[in-house]
């Protein structure tokens, strides 16, 4: 189906159709001063006219006179917490006397995922999701916990018409508009939405919406809007030879300078939509007869991340920050055929020390000219 037009007053129909198709619907909402995805059944709950002001170490919302629903850049959480849970019960184990030879009985705790549709997904978040799909589903071992949630997910992505100061997706090739990876994709214009399907599931929903064929003028306007958003991005990431560049700079003094500012708090890895590190933990019941095994997000900034028999391979912030950047921009290319950075800029805004990730990366790889921070 070609690109369709959906009138602004029909946006509620999208929510209704998704619900009728069996999805719980989630969408962007204001919560504690940030935009987060939460359950939604009324378009009135969308952050209409809200803009996000993001700078190194700063995230603020601002009400504008715009009537648009998706005029903000992003919130701290991408799709990651919905698919790859911050804390996931993996299995339970019981000591059962009547089990084979009195051994243990393990129970699989793969969730019965609730079919979920998320509206207002940003292009960088779809790009990040595709990367995590590769890591959790297409690797040697398929992760059944991630896959259950992923199979139950329906995405309604919205191309970005405005970017935050921290955005640099144009340079990573992941935004501000999207090519694939979505179920439905919209462009928001003042007169309404352009909408198209990117999957069979998406087509089925699109068929039930009160849409009309989109005019060429409107599609051109949408393309221009995305191009304009891309042009406004001043941050960028050099992509030439990043792996080789960074690895030739293992002893660069700048790692030390960054470490002087870095708190090793791990905020960047929490908000990063592609970071996948986790630790496994065990929670035994008080009766001593059963126990549950969990995995929870961890971070290469944690002291225990690289510990082997009580000794840490990366015992300083300098080595930990270097690990995070070398992996994200360097090793990742060899692991997954592309860098692990989608240019969402979250690590810049949510860093309490305001460390500018792309600026640091470019500086270490030899770029002198920097934007004004």
């Amino acid at each position: 189906m070609a690109v369709q037009f959906l009138a602004p007053e029909s946006l509620q129909n999208l929510l209704t159709v998704l619900e009728a198709s069996g999805y719980q619907v989630m969408g962007p909402q204001l919560s504690e001063g940030a935009i987060v995805y939460d359950h939604i059944n009324d378009v009135a709950d969308l952050p209409r006219g809200i803009e996000t002001l993001q700078k190194p170490g700063s995230y603020k919302l601002q009400q504008t006179s715009s009537t648009r629903f998706f005029n903000w850049a992003n919130g701290p959480a991408a799709l990651k917490p919905l698919l790859y849970k911050a804390r996931q019960a993996l299995w339970s184990c019981e000591q059962v006397a009547q089990a084979v030879n009195g051994g243990f009985v393990f129970k699989d705790l793969v969730p019965q995922a609730v079919p979920t549709a998320v509206i207002g997904v940003r292009p960088c978040d779809i790009a990040a999701m595709l990367i995590q799909d590769e890591h959790f589903i297409q690797s040697e071992y398929c992760d059944p916990y991630y896959k259950a949630e992923r199979d139950a997910l329906f995405t309604v992505a919205v191309n970005c018409s405005s970017c935050a100061e921290t955005c640099f997706c144009a340079s990573t090739g992941d935004g501000p508009s999207l090519d694939d990876g979505y179920d439905l994709l919209m462009d928001e214009l003042d007169s309404g939405f352009l909408i198209r399907a990117g999957s069979t599931k998406g087509e089925q929903v699109l068929k039930k919406l009160p849409v009309t064929a989109a005019s060429e003028d409107l599609t051109a306007m949408a393309a221009e809007q995305s191009a304009h958003a891309a042009e406004k991005q001043k941050r960028y990431l050099l992509d030439e030879n990043m792996h080789a560049n960074l690895f030739s700079q293992l002893d660069n003094r700048r790692w030390h300078d960054i470490a002087e500012r870095c708190l090793s708090c791990g905020n960047c890895t929490s908000v990063c939509p592609t970071c996948f590190c986790h630790r496994e933990t065990e929670q035994a019941e008080l009766d001593g007869q059963s126990t549950r095994h969990f995995r929870e997000w961890s971070s290469c900034f944690n002291a225990d991340h690289s510990v082997m028999h009580g000794h840490s391979l990366r015992d300083s912030s300098e080595l930990r920050y270097r690990q995070w950047m070398l992996h994200k921009l360097g090793s990742w290319i060899y692991q997954y055929g592309r860098s692990g950075c989608v240019g969402c800029g979250r690590c810049i805004a949510w860093c309490p020390a305001g460390i500018d990730f792309p600026a640091e990366a470019n500086a270490i790889s030899g770029e002198v000219e920097l934007w004004e921070a």
Partner: protein
């Protein structure tokens, strides 16, 4: 490093593992026997409780299992060998999980996931001289390979088995080494670094003290090395200086591992996930990061 991942290999593996179901679920096992090797090193003989799992379980020399202790957690332990339908793990009580494990007795249960990783290059090394260089408990991952080579003695060239320890009382399985010494065209060279007495068959010092006696064809050998990090880097450099090719030197590494499935991210060394791309690597592949702090 910096070799692109072999995507084809990956897809094949995926098809194999898909059939096995959830890779996170361990298999219940019984401790059949417990051998106290030293005050803080013990060997378990383990038998899987489920008959089908017991039949299906196969491992290659140099692979490892995730061993689970009820209520505490899992640790990665190399597979030392097998006896019938049981397999052996030699464990040093050094951390939270292994200290608790040291208290278990025969009849107690644990659970395992595995085997994981790429093992020693036994097939690729047919007709070559095999040189085993191990330090301390690094001998455990090599034992299964040594046994395999001796079992198929005619398929390999000379065998050189070098083991170094700090003190002779740290030496595991010395009678076993004495047995190996009797095998045709096999050298067993032992060294202890901190002892003041020289015993028959023992040298004083580190690996370097043994190289002078080791006889193998530098152009047609496979070195399998496991031990403390500085010992492996030093040994590799010495071997390269002697003329051994960098991709004939194989090292078995240890890293923090939570999942062993390539998901948890803890064991990464540049682009390699030590759990699935290793734990055995050629020196050539990892030398750039091996000697660097922080990898």
């Amino acid at each position: 490093m910096g070799s692109l991942v072999d995507l084809k290999k990956r897809t094949v593996c995926q098809a194999e593992t898909k059939m096995k179901g959830n890779p996170y679920i361990p298999m219940s096992a019984t401790i059949v026997e417990r051998i106290e090797e030293t005050p803080n090193i013990f060997t378990w003989k383990l038998k899987l409780d489920d008959e089908q799992q017991r039949k299906d379980y196969r491992f290659k020399c140099g692979q490892f299992n995730m061993v689970y202790l009820f209520g505490i957690g899992e640790v990665a332990i190399s597979i030392m060998g097998s006896e019938g339908d049981s397999f052996l793990h030699t464990i040093q009580a050094v951390g939270r999980v292994t200290n608790a494990m040291s208290k278990l007795q025969p009849g107690d249960h644990v659970a395992i996931r595995g085997p994981y990783g790429i093992g020693w290059p036994m097939m690729e090394s047919k007709s070559r001289d095999l040189v085993f260089i191990t330090g301390g408990l690094g001998c455990a991952p090599a034992v299964s390979a040594i046994r395999e080579a001796i079992k198929n003695r005619d398929e390999y060239g000379r065998l050189v088995i070098m083991q170094t320890v700090l003190h002779r009382h740290d030496m595991l399985w010395e009678p076993q080494y004495d047995e190996w010494r009797k095998v045709r065209s096999t050298q067993v060279l032992l060294a202890s670094d901190r002892d003041k007495t020289a015993w028959p068959n023992w040298k004083k010092g580190r690996v370097g003290a043994l190289f002078r006696e080791a006889k193998f064809d530098i152009n047609h050998c496979t070195v399998m090395c496991c031990g403390p990090h500085p010992m492996m880097t030093g040994t590799s450099r010495t071997l390269v200086d002697m003329g051994v090719k960098e991709d004939d030197i194989y090292l078995s590494l240890e890293r923090n591992m939570q999942c062993a499935l390539g998901h948890c991210g803890h064991c990464q060394m540049d682009e390699a996930f030590v759990c699935k791309d290793g734990p055995v690597f050629t020196y050539k592949r990892i030398k750039d990061v091996l000697e660097r702090r922080g990898f």
